[in-house]
């Protein structure tokens, strides 16, 4: 219906109103109180929403500020480049930084190909059915398993059953298992976001489905998959429970020489200093310093992922 057709109706309704017998109120007068109420309500609603959003940022900033305030003083070159000394009451945290970095790299090397392959199967090959539903159920439940259960599983399976021992490899495998659901989820989203027209164009040119996946679909989905993988692993890298039975130990004299060596790691080091040491109060600045390094590492990984994604997107477009 055209606006012109609406107009007479509106006038008729106004004419029927009792007020219109004496003096017809102007539109502004009639609407003013309601308009004001609606505007106030909107202002309040937006205020509440904005405050809720701000609480998130505030929580993050508060944590960072707290750790910075207490830990910044101890973080210097010596702290970053030396192993701990004097029963861990002095010295640095180099082995922990190296350990956590190696764990992250190791778990991404394991989880990325496995996660990507699973996602490709789920989104490109699997036909809907009972098996697919079962796999999906498994993946979403894996995401809900507490990290300490992953730690116990890692100890039972990798450390003891596969005889890998408490080692970098066992820890990386455990963290990989833990970050898999996140990686698969992100990779599947990235693959689903690839327009179907690319698949059709490729198949219509006589490409096989495998060629289509590798040459037309994955290149487009790669930024999303990589970012998901890094985010998944960076979250796992901050976990203590999965590595406390599988990879990390109280103290190692040197840096790991092979994947079968025990390692020190930042989150476990914090846990040890804060709970298991004899000098908990004296090492408090060291604890905060270690926490600062850990949070910088995790945020740094996330930032790298985001920058890498935007780089790839620019190259693709």
């Amino acid at each position: 219906m055209t606006p012109e057709a609406d107009m007479p109706n509106a006038t008729e309704i106004l004419a029927d109103l009792p007020e219109s017998e004496g003096r017809r109120p102007t539109l502004e007068e009639g609407a003013a109180p309601r308009k004001l109420r609606r505007r106030r309500l909107q202002a309040v609603a937006f205020g509440v929403l904005r405050a809720t959003a701000a609480v998130n940022v505030a929580a993050l900033l508060l944590v960072i500020a707290f750790i910075l305030y207490h830990g910044a003083a101890v973080v210097n070159w010596e702290f970053l480049s030396r192993p701990p000394t004097h029963s861990m009451t002095r010295g640095g945290i180099l082995p922990c930084i190296v350990g956590t970095l190696l764990l992250s790299i190791g778990s991404i090397l394991i989880a990325f190909p496995v996660g990507m392959a699973s996602a490709v199967y789920l989104s490109e090959y699997a036909r809907p059915g009972r098996f697919l539903r079962l796999v999906r159920l498994g993946i979403s439940n894996l995401a809900g398993v507490p990290s300490v259960i992953f730690g116990l599983f890692g100890m039972a399976f990798f450390v003891i059953y596969l005889k890998l021992g408490v080692s970098l490899l066992s820890g990386a495998l455990t963290l990989a298992a833990m970050s898999l659901p996140i990686i698969i989820g992100a990779a599947e989203e990235a693959l689903k976001a690839v327009p179907n027209q690319y698949r059709e164009a490729s198949l219509a040119l006589g490409a096989t489905r495998l060629q289509t996946v590798f040459r037309a679909v994955l290149p487009v989905a790669m930024p999303g998959i990589l970012t998901g993988a890094i985010l998944g692993v960076s979250r796992a890298a901050g976990e203590t429970a999965p590595i406390m039975f599988t990879a990390a130990v109280f103290y190692t004299p040197g840096l790991p020489a092979s994947v079968f060596d025990e390692i020190m790691a930042l989150p476990y080091h914090i846990y040890v200093l804060a709970t298991a040491g004899t000098e908990i109060t004296r090492t408090r600045p060291l604890q905060h310093g270690t926490a600062l390094v850990l949070i910088a590492l995790v945020l740094g990984l996330n930032l790298a992922a985001v920058l890498y994604r935007s780089h790839l997107r620019r190259r693709c477009a």
Binding site: A204, L205, A207, A216
Partner: protein, 257 residues
């Protein structure tokens, strides 16, 4: 069932039925496509013309819960017979889609894509074939200096000609075009139409179109589809001037559709 005699035409459908689940999208379609001629498929939206051309390179295989009965012949072979290599079939039939869909790769890599997936090797050979295909698609002059630029930096009309070049590079015998101009402006449309008239010297072309002027301008034969049935197929001038069926006439005169 006794072995049916293959039709003489380049491609032909015999009693073709197509089902999406329990919905019959094509009912008993029989039609011939003569070699090196342009056949236009017209009809209102949802009449089955796109479904039909997607049967010709078996793109519909990708949609779950679909079923085909009847025969579809290409060079005397039923492409729905068991044991047909679908990948090989698709490399013999080029397809151009409604919306230009170049890959987010360079112009060169787009045209080379089909060659590479079909295992054609040799830098010089590929470079030569890419240039040749871009020339056939009347795009070479516009892109020769920027073959490494992203295909997405081209205009819509250029992208569609790139998609045609990409299809031609594989040296198909047939070109299927599913409303190739519906996303283009009049200038882009004009160029594609000129191209169709040039390409029919080499290829058998089937064009789905909503634009009846376009059908009359570019095609030798026109087939009118309505509600999943082929109502009428004839030489284009005859179908437009003396349609045999009431439904065809009503559609052509704009009484429905």
């Amino acid at each position: 069932m006794s072995a049916p005699t293959p039709p003489a035409a380049k491609a032909a459908a015999r009693h073709l039925h197509f089902y999406y689940g329990s919905v019959e999208a094509l009912q008993d379609v029989s039609i011939d496509f003569p070699a090196r001629q342009v056949t236009a498929l017209i009809g209102p939206s949802g009449c089955g013309k796109s479904t039909f051309i997607r049967c010709l390179n078996r793109m519909n295989d990708l949609i779950p819960h679909t079923r085909v009965t009847g025969e579809l012949w290409l060079d005397g072979k039923n492409i729905y017979a068991p044991g047909v290599d679908v990948v090989d079939l698709r490399s013999r039939i080029g397809m151009v889609f409604q919306k230009p869909n170049p890959f987010p790769k360079s112009i060169f890599d787009n045209v080379a894509y089909g060659l590479r997936v079909n295992g054609r090797k040799g830098q010089d050979f590929i470079r030569h074939r890419v240039e040749e295909s871009l020339q056939k698609a009347a795009l070479w002059a516009e892109v020769r200096d920027r073959l490494d630029a992203s295909a997405l930096s081209l205009s819509g009309g250029q992208q569609q000609r790139l998609c045609i070049a990409r299809a031609l590079a594989v040296e198909p015998e047939m070109l299927l075009m599913d409303e190739p101009c519906s996303a283009l402006d009049p200038i882009g449309t004009q160029k594609i139409e000129d191209l169709i008239l040039e390409l029919k010297a080499t290829y058998t072309i089937i064009v789905v179109t909503h634009n009846m002027q376009q059908a009359s301008r570019v095609s030798d034969f026109t087939a009118f589809f309505y509600l999943g049935r082929l109502i009428e197929a004839a030489e284009t001038p005859q179908l437009f001037s003396r349609p045999r069926h009431k439904q065809t006439e009503d559609y052509l005169t704009g009484r429905f559709g």
